[in-house]
Symmetry: C2
Subunit: 274 residues, 2 copies
């Protein structure tokens, strides 16, 4: 196995912010496989030097300079890690310090507070949205369906459930989902419960060969997973959506984050959590 | 209502990366409430100038300079937006260009590819983990419980479900959860199904007054939500965990992200998705 370049996320606290930032940036380079290592609670010079030894070993093993994303706050620790033989991307230097200056206040990190901790309103919105979404997964119930912010429809395994959960967890959106089953597709009509809520309905579709691949993992060599059946279901579902005047997204080439974020904008959903 | 400072996320594509980065940074300043505006698909000079007008209006309305996080790639667009009367935090300038130089390759953004799209292996891990987690929520079944990467225990409403879903969606971790119900607390023993899997069990606890607040929203003025009952359950659950030799985290002051990330490290879970 070829050695991969290492990306370190180094923090004097939990490392959550720097890990999120770093991962967000690394997804921009998804041709390259990185070995990712998060090193939290690096809060004194001795620990920084241990980190630097680890960086040296990673450089030697891979034959490539490691990347180091860091959010160390103390000037002496930052100065030290900048001596490492690697590319150091310092979040504090490049973003947090300028923001502190502009906003005239210290960051939570600087004053030792926890990452977005204790925001009770956010927490309630999330929990409420998650509970709602779990109760309204896969057309489980029509009770309180009118309270949904959005109702996703699509054939089985088109990506509805993870997209709804992401909308609930990340944005506090109440996201119901409803499968389009062969009966709906033969009738060429939306499930009856959705008719009065059509303005909240949004479609997900998927390419038949990808659908076949996903279904094959779940029910190998079934009619359900056959390419003929997948083609028929997808074509029928897209026709049904078009006839019912329902906008849809294709999930095939989109990550769950991208689907959820696109829906947030396209369906003009109100984000309740940041 | 006092006007809030506006934070703009400006992108020539979907804006997902810049929005994630910006939000990650803004959670560092959670004393300040921002009005957040994402402006995707800003891909020519005319649109940049519209954005600049919007920034001027936001500045005038709030009496405060807006923050602008931007990931515009084209030099002429970047040059233009940097003339705006606001703090511009340019992700391309500060991070993507240095990374491109170091890695000797262009970013997905630069070459117009979609955000982490089409990673089939990641998608499968996520879906598998989400399905597993949904099937093993709240002690729903003991079937295949041994396949869990982690089993969270705690009293009702201590934060188990959202934490498990986050672990599954974000990290591809199979996370089961099991409630500690009054019967368990009276026996002072883990639910029997968990005894052979004790090495995978991790506890969540919560401060009684916070628990009372959460339960009160769900079942107002019930015995379940009373502060006496919450105190008793929490004390008993913590004693049980201690006696059973199970490590636990307190969810009271932690966000779901922080709980999940801390568990990932503390329980040495293998992250399958980035």
């Amino acid at each position: 196995m070829p050695h991969r370049r290492t990306a370190f996320f180094v923090s004097d606290r939990t490392g959550i912010t720097v890990e999120m930032l770093g991962n967000s940036l690394l997804t921009q380079f998804d041709d390259i496989e990185f070995q990712r290592v998060t090193l939290p609670f690096v809060d004194n010079l001795e620990k920084v030097r241990e980190v630097m030894n680890r960086i040296e070993r990673a450089n030697a093993a891979s034959g490539m300079r490691s990347l180091v994303f860091t959010s160390l706050m103390k000037p002496d620790l930052r100065e030290e890690i900048n001596k490492a033989n690697c590319m150091v991307l310092d979040v504090v230097d490049r973003f947090i310090v300028p923001l502190e200056e502009e906003l005239g206040t210290k960051s939570a990190h600087a004053i030792g507070r926890s990452h977005s901790a204790g925001n009770f309103k956010d927490y309630n919105h999330r929990i409420e949205a998650v509970n709602y979404t779990l109760a309204h997964d896969d057309g489980m119930t029509n009770r309180n369906l009118e309270q949904a912010d959005i109702i996703l429809v699509g054939v089985s395994r088109s990506g509805k459930t993870p997209t709804c959960l992401y909308l609930a967890l990340q944005f506090g959106v109440k996201a119901a989902n409803y499968p389009l089953i062969p009966e709906d597709l033969e009738r060429m009509k939306l499930p009856p419960a959705l008719l009065p809520l059509r303005h909240k309905v949004y479609g997900l579709t998927i390419m038949p060969d990808r659908l076949q691949q996903i279904r094959q993992e779940r029910k190998p060599d079934s009619k359900y997973a056959s390419i003929e059946n997948c083609k028929w279901e997808v074509t029928a579902a897209e026709t049904l959506m078009q006839q019912a005047g329902i906008a849809h997204l294709n999930s095939t080439t989109k990550s769950i984050e991208e689907l959820a974020t696109t829906l947030l904008h396209e369906a003009h959903l109100v984000r309740r959590v940041y």
